[in-house]
């Protein structure tokens, strides 16, 4: 998983920097100077990194533990971790879809309650009280106090509200 993610990143950066350089070529020098100065070495370095993995030098890669960053849970079997990652991604994407379709004021309590009930398997009372607390915090601070403009969801717009 480690080397696959690495390869995906190297190829992704190769694609992005390659596109950045090609697109910048058509611009006046004022606009293209910086993208070219950065894009060309990034393309060369990412190609080198991708080749490093593809030519089987992955074994000599930097030890994962030496990176100055945290590591995703190591004590969970890979298959289980993949399943839970997909599950978490689904919830995150679902929350975003709910915000777009229903708007923040409805999506926030709906998501919190459903997550606590279905994913957290919490009791009805705890789920309801916790959802209410989060909603009061959201509504009181962001809507009433700071007057942040939360647009209504697409569904409300389609229904003509």
């Amino acid at each position: 998983m480690h080397s696959k993610a690495s390869l995906a990143l190297a190829l992704g950066i190769m694609g992005v920097s390659g596109y950045a350089v090609i697109a910048a070529w058509a611009w006046p020098w004022k606009a293209s100077l910086f993208p070219l100065v950065i894009g060309i070495p990034v393309f060369v370095l990412s190609t080198a990194d991708a080749l490093w993995v593809l030519l089987g030098r992955g074994a000599q890669a930097t030890e994962r533990g030496e990176i100055k960053d945290f590591q995703i849970a190591q004590d969970v079997p890979e298959r289980v971790a993949l399943g839970r990652t997909a599950n978490a991604t689904g919830w995150i994407a679902g929350f975003f879809a709910a915000i777009v379709l229903l708007g923040f004021p409805i999506a926030v309590p709906l998501f919190v309650f459903l997550y606590l009930k279905l994913e957290g398997r919490e009791g009805w009372i705890f789920s309801a009280v916790f959802t209410a607390v989060v909603w009061v915090f959201f509504y009181g601070l962001f809507d009433r106090l700071l007057h942040l403009p939360f647009p209504q969801g697409w569904v409300a717009s389609w229904l003509g509200f």
Binding site: L9, S17, A20, P28, F111, E119, F142
Partner: protein, 498 residues
């Protein structure tokens, strides 16, 4: 001068400035905690309220609020891995790792104490540097500032992942950050770059939306995979007890804290660099303070020095960035640009007058930074027990609450769904970087520095053509960048020959 220093203190200690400072501290405390609501945004929102205030009251209110937001931004970074402020992101790497080891109290104690030391160093620098800083700022033209940005990226790229392969990835991550910073309308020719005819992208990628995504989403997924609390199965009793240990850590590594404070002050003085750069530079320096490769491995896994460095620099840069704002009317950061607006609203003109006629007002700003930080740190220590216990709350309860904060924090950047989409896309990239073993720090520094570096490069080439490369300070900075790259490689080879 001494007389003006004390006059400034007496001005701040009157009841009205103190009351406005307290109000600013309360606002700044919450603004710092909430992801997305930045100190600069809040300064802008509060600016109209200073019309009716006296200058000392207005600066007590605005500076009290702003300097506190930088301190409390570290709290969410440590506890949840979500940056409360763009300038608090570096604290996540080791601060949140410590929270996962059950050392949230120690990490918070270290972050808060180093913040206080940093704020005092920054304020002290502001007090003594005003007459001396002019030649320093004038030595650094666009070519030198561009090279300073390159040194910053070289610094963090070479130190965040050891070995040639790690360094390669560090530079690639930094390069990707720089490229991402070019998205949007270019400032020189007005060309819409990499916008794909999407209007939202014309203003570029929002820093807060990207930061929240790249740091918070992988943490949330990690929490969902582990299905435990942030501190895992560690007993709750241990967690808050380490706060005093964190305070002692600050004094155990006192010179590192002071050096990082000075780095923050220096970056603060440089126009346009800002706190987000200062913390990563300080983190790089803290990493470099490790004597052996073995010791260096602890960084990113919960080394307290990785908390002390960014914590100190993050707060000391406030004093630093006030120096060019007050002395020359050149703001050192976005927040200082907004504060500059406050000067004009109050009828004050930055420049020589602030160092002569209005010197007590200038010193009142120094005292405001010091007093506001002392009050905040004391208040935070009182709340520390409760704050640290949040790391023992079940992950399934925390995840929806954190996600709500992440999405709202991201959305409030521009009030556009595009912000959330940016957060999700960069959350995916951040996740890939974490599982692939790529360092995220150089990417963030590249993104933060991109616009500034491009601007300085353009001015350097337009003004000096290729001759800018031969300027003495540029050559010195280039040599430093090369040394920063080579030093870890040479240090790594040492044990092999031993």
């Amino acid at each position: 001068m001494i007389e003006a220093l004390f006059e400034g203190l007496f001005l701040v200690l009157q009841w009205k400035p103190l009351a406005f400072m307290a109000l600013g501290i309360v606002l700044g405390f919450w603004v710092g905690l909430l992801p997305g609501l930045g100190g600069a945004t809040t300064l802008a929102l509060m600016l109209p309220f200073v019309y009716a205030m006296q200058p000392v009251e207005a600066f007590a209110f605005l500076l009290g609020m702003h300097s506190v937001a930088a301190t409390t931004g570290d709290i969410t970074s440590v506890l949840f891995g979500v940056p409360g402020e763009a300038a608090s992101a570096a604290t996540i790497l080791d601060g949140h790792a410590m929270a996962k080891k059950g050392e949230a109290g120690r990490a918070l104690g270290a972050a808060l104490t180093s913040s206080l030391v940093g704020a005092i160093v920054g304020a002290f620098a502001l007090a003594i540097a005003i007459p001396m800083v002019r030649p320093l700022v004038l030595t650094f033209g666009s070519p030198e500032l561009f090279m300073l940005a390159i040194v910053g990226i070289a610094f963090i790229a070479s130190l965040s992942a050891p070995g040639p392969r790690g360094m390669l990835r560090g530079f690639l991550a930094g390069g990707l950050g720089l490229l991402c910073a070019t998205v949007g309308q270019d400032p020189q020719a007005g060309i819409a770059r990499y916008t794909f005819d999407i209007l939202y992208l014309w203003q570029g990628l929002d820093l807060v939306a990207v930061l929240v995504g790249i740091f918070a989403i992988p943490e949330i997924i990690d929490l969902a995979i582990r299905r435990t609390s942030i501190a895992g199965a560690l007993p709750a009793g241990r967690i808050s007890k380490g706060a005093w240990e964190g305070v002692k850590d600050t004094f155990r590594h006192f010179w590192l804290t002071i050096r990082c404070s000075l780095i923050g002050t220096f970056i603060g003085i440089m126009p346009g660099m800002g706190g987000a750069v200062a913390q990563w530079m300080a983190y790089g320096h803290a990493t470099q303070s490790a004597r052996t490769a073995e010791e260096r491995k602890g960084f990113g896994a919960g080394d307290v020095r990785g908390v002390l460095g960014p914590g100190a620099a993050n707060n000391s840069k406030e004093g630093g960035s006030l120096i060019p704002t007050i002395a020359f009317g050149v703001p050192g950061s976005t927040a200082m640009a907004i504060l500059l607006g406050g000067f004009f609203l109050l009828g004050l003109v930055p420049g020589p007058d602030m160092l002569t006629k209005h010197l007590p007002v200038t010193f009142s700003m120094v005292w405001t930074i010091v007093i506001a930080n002392i009050v905040t740190v004391l208040a935070c220590f009182l709340l520390l027990d409760h704050l640290a216990k949040l790391t023992t709350v079940r992950g399934t309860v925390l995840i929806p609450a954190i996600l709500v904060l992440v999405f709202i924090g991201s959305f409030t950047s521009n009030h556009h769904y595009g912000d959330i989409l940016v957060t999700l896309v960069f959350g995916g990239i951040g996740y890939l970087m974490v599982i692939g073993g790529w360092p995220r720090a150089p990417f963030v520094l590249g993104l933060v520095l991109g616009k500034i570096a491009e601007n300085y490069l353009y001015i350097s080439v337009a003004r000096y053509e290729a001759a800018w490369l031969t300027r003495p300070v540029v050559l010195i900075l280039f040599a430093i960048a090369v040394a920063v790259i080579l030093y870890p490689l040479l240090q790594r080879r040492k044990p092999a020959h031993a």
